[in-house]
């Protein structure tokens, strides 16, 4: 290594360039061009077969080819070249599909609505002054606080309690886990039916409104009894409520007596009912996931620690707080991190329910709105950057913590 001649250095550099740069590029492009041309000529079925055969041998032949080229290099260089060979293609892919778009998005966030002229930090000052953006940011915070707290909290309790069950644990856990199997879009569709509102005198098909209007002596959800229609038109009946359209509690009974004053009533006056009703969907969908992960963590706690606690006379709650939670702390942090990132990216629930109307918007949907509804590339990129900036510290923090754990 020390006494490389100039000629050997150039030779080494040439080999690395060939093996790690030129060969993968040519290989990749030839595949791309081959398939582009093939789609014009070959029928779909044949194309699928060719795709499976050629595509799956692609990786093998790629590494094989690079390996052969690396063999030309002197023996002592081969190890480091081979290490790079394995990291190279994935770094290339990440760069192409992740870093390049991210950098371009940041660049575009300083440009105008057409993405042509620079307009300084105008987009960012818009992002933190526009009323709709401020509401969107408020919602994002409400979602973060409520969703992360409740999924962790309920998940922990379910995980702990299911572990204490004598039998039927698997059954119980699979029921709680079930919502995870449904897509967020499906879960939202279910909840949309739960919250559904129909104008009177139509039959309320949403279960919440159905129960509401049926309460009371003269009230019924348009049931026909003895050939007579029983409706909820009487003034003593509860009115049906469009739940996802309620920005506050003013249409509920408790809302009527509310007055701003102390901090609690201030909070209640501004309580964003529809936002909270929507984030319940996410809590419902992710609690099962948290519970299953926690339950696995709890199972890993050595029995003797628990027994020691029991012998010392600690109550169940004491054991839970002083033994279980500290023991699975890192699991909680990992699930919490995952939830924070998931909530920041939350999109589908809002997109298929209210589409952001009536102050329910979230950043991810707002980003799309700015792009397609308001046709403003600059602002859309700005919202994307804001999401990005919120996610990055969490990911970095997680990576740092991981490194700390490894070094211990």
């Amino acid at each position: 290594m020390k006494n490389l001649t100039q000629r050997e250095k150039i030779f080494n550099f040439g080999i690395s360039l060939l093996a790690l740069g030129a060969f993968p590029l040519v290989w990749f492009l030839s595949q791309a061009i081959l398939f582009r041309e093939l789609t014009e000529i070959v029928s779909r079925n044949v194309l699928v077969v060719i795709g499976i055969i050629v595509g799956s041998s692609f990786v093998f032949l790629l590494f094989n080819g690079m390996e052969r080229l690396i063999r030309l290099a002197p023996r002592e260089r081969r190890d480091s070249l081979e290490a790079r060979m394995f990291a190279g293609p994935s770094l290339f892919m990440i760069g192409l599909f992740l870093f390049y778009p991210a950098i371009r998005t940041i660049y575009l966030s300083f440009k105008d609505r057409y993405g042509k002229e620079f307009n300084g930090i105008e987009n960012y000052s818009w992002a933190f002054s526009d009323t709709e953006m401020l509401v969107t940011i408020r919602n994002q915070i409400v979602w973060l606080v409520f969703v992360v707290f409740f999924t962790l909290f309920i998940g922990l309790i379910v995980g702990w309690l299911s572990d204490r069950l004598n039998k039927g644990e698997a059954f119980f856990k699979s029921i709680v886990f079930m919502p995870m199997a449904i897509s967020a879009v499906g879960a939202t569709a279910i909840f949309k039916f739960i919250y559904e509102y129909r104008p009177p005198p139509l039959t309320q098909i949403g279960i919440v409104n159905g129960i509401r209007v049926s309460a009371g002596e003269k009230c019924s959800n348009n049931r026909i009894i003895d050939g007579e229609l029983n409706d909820y038109a009487d003034s003593s009946c509860n009115r049906a409520i469009g739940w996802l359209q309620q920005r506050d509690l003013s249409n509920l009974q408790i809302g009527e007596t509310l007055e701003s004053g102390g901090w609690l009533s201030n909070l209640l006056v501004n309580f964003p009912l529809n936002t909270v009703l929507l984030l319940i969907i996410m809590i419902w969908a992710y609690t099962g996931f948290a519970a299953v992960v926690f339950s696995a963590g709890i199972k890993a706690i050595p029995a003797d620690i628990m027994e020691a606690g029991q012998i010392d006379g600690a109550s169940e709650i004491k054991i839970f707080i002083s033994i279980v939670i500290p023991y699975i702390k890192s699991t909680i942090v990992v699930v919490g991190t995952y939830m924070v990132v998931t909530v920041l990216k939350a999109f589908d629930i809002i997109y298929v329910s209210t589409r952001g109307d009536l102050e329910t918007n979230l950043l991810a949907v707002k980003m799309l709105d700015e792009f397609s509804k308001y046709r403003n590339i600059g602002r859309s990129s700005t919202v994307a950057v804001i999401i990005f900036v919120c996610v990055v510290p969490i990911i970095v923090g997680n990576a740092l913590r991981e490194r700390e754990n490894n070094s211990l």
Partner: protein
């Protein structure tokens, strides 16, 4: 087998090239748009006879997500030949960004186009003196749906003026029923129904279409007294006790597609939930299936009442407009065909068609449904008088037309008449 067909195609195309010289046989033109289902099938069907004649293969792909997809396609340079936007504002926007070829550059006879679709429609696609939008199907918004049998049974007559409509509404309230169906919730577009009301009132007050055009182009501010006057009229409908099904809260909570359902539902005394519903012609496809069969007979329309006798009978509507991305010869052929009188024939005859063509010479007897014919006559009549106007919120900048205007109308419905000034001021400040 594959090979022989391929070979045959090569030979055929060689023959075609040899014989036809400049023939467009086998050329493909790709169109995208927001039409799906029946409408998309009808649109595709329009090209059957054209393909037979010219050999140009036209394929249409519709998508619910069209507006986003076409944005991305334009950004990446992977555009279709022609795109059919559901509103002219988007065509102008694409032209502003330099993606479209103007109709003049395509060699379209502009005078003929103007006389066929009115200069107002042609002007909608104008950017810096060049025209980019090709007119297509329209729908009519200046209509109020009602059930003649229910009116007759109670001795109500069709209101010809706003005052008559208010008098009728008061009469219905006095009889213990509810006059109006009103629902303006719409995922991601909540509030547009109220903007339609505003537009219809604007067309019938002040100086009619003249004020309307100034309002759209922001030559008068959004909080001008004329606009405030219109908002006050709208508030009269929304906020008068007993006028609207379910009260004020129901206006913002009711999905616009369900809004008319109370009209088809009888209460214990046999009275319908409401008597009048001002909504565009496309609402029929949202009705319950049983009611859809009676569109045009059991449930039909009267024109939105006049408010000022001195003004011509205006009609408010909306519609699709197409923009062209290249000037290939085949594309030009298709564009000329799409603007011709023959274009819509196939779709109009489909039994499920409810789309209306804007060409003034189009034979309206071709429409399969009676109601479509009535609406089409109204549209072409208004076009001929230059009193047809496009949905203002579609023409305003998207920050207003798809943003603050919708949002503030929702707020107005909730907050009551005292909020009118705040609403209009907020919209005015949001104008870019």
């Amino acid at each position: 087998m594959k090979k022989s067909i391929f070979g045959l195609l090569v030979i055929l195309s060689m023959i075609a090239v040899a014989c036809g010289g400049g023939s467009l046989e086998g050329e493909e033109v790709f169109i995208t748009g927001a039409l799906v289902g029946n409408d998309a099938a009808g649109f595709q069907q329009n090209f059957d006879s054209f393909t037979e004649e010219t050999g140009i293969i036209v394929s249409f792909q519709g998508s619910d997500n069209f507006e986003q997809e076409v944005q991305i396609q334009m950004e990446s340079g992977d555009t279709p030949d022609i795109a059919l936007w559901p509103q002219p504002g988007a065509v102008v926007d694409a032209a502003n960004r330099g993606y479209l070829v103007s109709l003049e550059d395509l060699g379209v006879d502009m005078d003929e186009y103007r006389s066929n679709f009115s200069s107002y429609i042609v002007g909608l696609g104008e950017v810096d003196g060049a025209h980019y939008g090709g007119a297509h199907a329209f729908n009519l918004k200046s209509i109020v749906w009602y059930q003649p049998a229910e009116f007759e049974a109670r001795g109500y007559s069709i209101p010809g003026t706003w005052d008559e409509m208010i008098a009728l509404a008061d009469q219905i309230v006095a009889d213990g029923m509810t006059p109006f169906c009103f629902g303006m919730y719409s995922n991601g577009a909540s509030g547009w129904l109220a903007t339609d009301w505003m537009e219809d009132i604007m067309l019938r007050t002040g100086e009619g279409t003249a004020t309307y055009d100034k309002w759209v182009s922001h030559d008068i501010p959004f909080n001008d007294p004329v606009v405030k006057n219109a908002a006050t009229f709208l508030s009269q409908i929304m906020h008068t006790e007993g006028y609207v099904v379910g009260g004020t809260d129901a206006i913002v909570s009711t999905y616009f597609g369900n809004a008319q359902d109370p009209m088809f539902e009888k209460d214990a005394n046999g009275n319908p939930g409401c008597f009048m519903h001002r909504q565009a012609s496309f609402i029929t496809s949202f009705w319950p299936e049983a009611a859809q069969a009676g569109a045009g007979s059991e449930t039909t329309v009267f024109p939105f009442p006049a408010m000022d006798d001195g003004l011509p009978k205006a009609a408010l509507g909306a519609g699709d407009m197409f923009g062209v991305f290249n000037d290939r010869e085949a594309t030009i052929e298709v564009v000329n065909y799409m603007l011709s009188n023959d274009f819509f024939e196939a779709a109009a005859q489909r039994p499920d068609n409810s789309r209306i063509y804007g060409h003034v010479d189009f034979d309206t007897s071709l429409y399969s449904k009676d109601i479509t014919r009535v609406l089409a006559d109204t549209i072409t009549g208004a076009l001929a008088e230059n009193a047809f106007r496009f949905d203002a919120s579609d023409l305003m900048p998207p920050e207003v037309g798809a943003g603050s205007f919708w949002k503030e109308m929702m707020n107005l419905a909730v907050e009551g008449p005292g909020y009118i000034d705040t609403a209009l001021d907020n919209i005015e400040t949001s104008w870019p």
